[in-house]
Amino acid sequence: MPDGIREIECLATVRLLWDYLDSELDETRMREVEHHLAACQACLPHAVFGQRLLDALHAIRDRHAMPPTVRAEVVAALRAAGYSRGP
């Protein structure tokens, strides 16, 4: 067991899994989950699947583009409000 971290069980790991994948845990907790996943063949697939889901969700950025007319319309409205630049 690496210094400064505790052994955690599968249930605790699963409970912390989304926080871990979102990097929302403190450093010690991150290491504890990481250590458990490295040794547990039952929990690791959940983490791999979770990460794949998050990666696919993040790719929504590339598919949900703003309609091309929006920027021009917003800038026109801003100009009417006193804005004098253009993008």
Partner: protein, 217 residues
């Protein structure tokens, strides 16, 4: 992940909506162009997650930027402009809905995390996990995210798509961090269930093994 940048300490909706010319309109326009306009795509995605309608999202984006421009003097230079814009966007949405609250019953985040793992365990057992590994999740996720209730969709868009921390998302949505966490975990569980359905609806029979379509001999 997480956003380490700070944010403006002023609530843009609590200050008079007047243009500040103390440093000259040109300087204001320049900083607004540099710091605020580049986030329009991000604001649009968030607005769309709230409204679910393209035309409404466009109106919210325009309202957001007009309010941001009028309140630009309250933005703290160097702080997180995107988070500031998201907050204005969320308030503009609530205003457009006559203060409809983005609130739902708070769920047990830990229970959803555990249930999600159990759901995934069932997917491993019935083979849908292996099947999903061969599929492009994008189209299914687009439909599944669109089908989420607005409060859950907003949490997913902010954290999973726009890379906001739980704390930042909580600030933007005006709810406690625990509420963001519970909405997020419930939403991900629902998305996971939708993906499992997607594998089945794609005409793939889990019992036949990965990559084999139903009906194949």
């Amino acid at each position: 992940m997480g956003n380490a940048q700070g944010t403006s300490t002023s609530d843009p909706d609590l200050v008079p909506q007047v243009a500040d010319r103390r440093d000259g309109g040109s300087s204001k326009d320049e900083s607004f162009t540099r710091d605020a306009l580049p986030w329009m795509e991000d604001v649009y995605r968030f607005a769309h997650s709230l409204t679910h309608e393209t035309a409404d999202a466009q109106d919210i984006v325009q309202e957001t930027y007009l309010r941001a421009f009028r309140s630009w003097h309250t933005f703290e230079p160097g702080s997180d402009c995107r988070r500031w814009l998201f907050t204005i966007c969320r308030n503009a949405f609530l205003r457009s809905r006559q203060r409809t609250r983005l609130e739902v019953e708070v769920t047990d985040a830990d229970a959803d995390a555990i249930a999600g793992a159990r759901e995934h365990g069932a997917m491993i057992a019935d083979g849908t996990d292996r099947l999903l590994a061969t599929l492009d999740l994008g189209p299914a996720l687009d439909r599944a995210v669109a089908g989420l209730d607005a409060p859950f969709r907003a949490a997913v868009i902010l954290v999973d798509v726009e890379d906001q921390s739980y704390e930042a998302a909580a600030q933007i949505l005006g709810v406690p961090i625990g509420t963001v966490r519970s909405r997020l975990f419930r939403a991900r569980r629902q998305l996971q269930q939708q993906l499992r359905e997607y594998a089945r609806d794609a005409g793939l029979d889990p019992s036949a093994g990965p990559g084999q379509e139903r009906g194949d001999a």
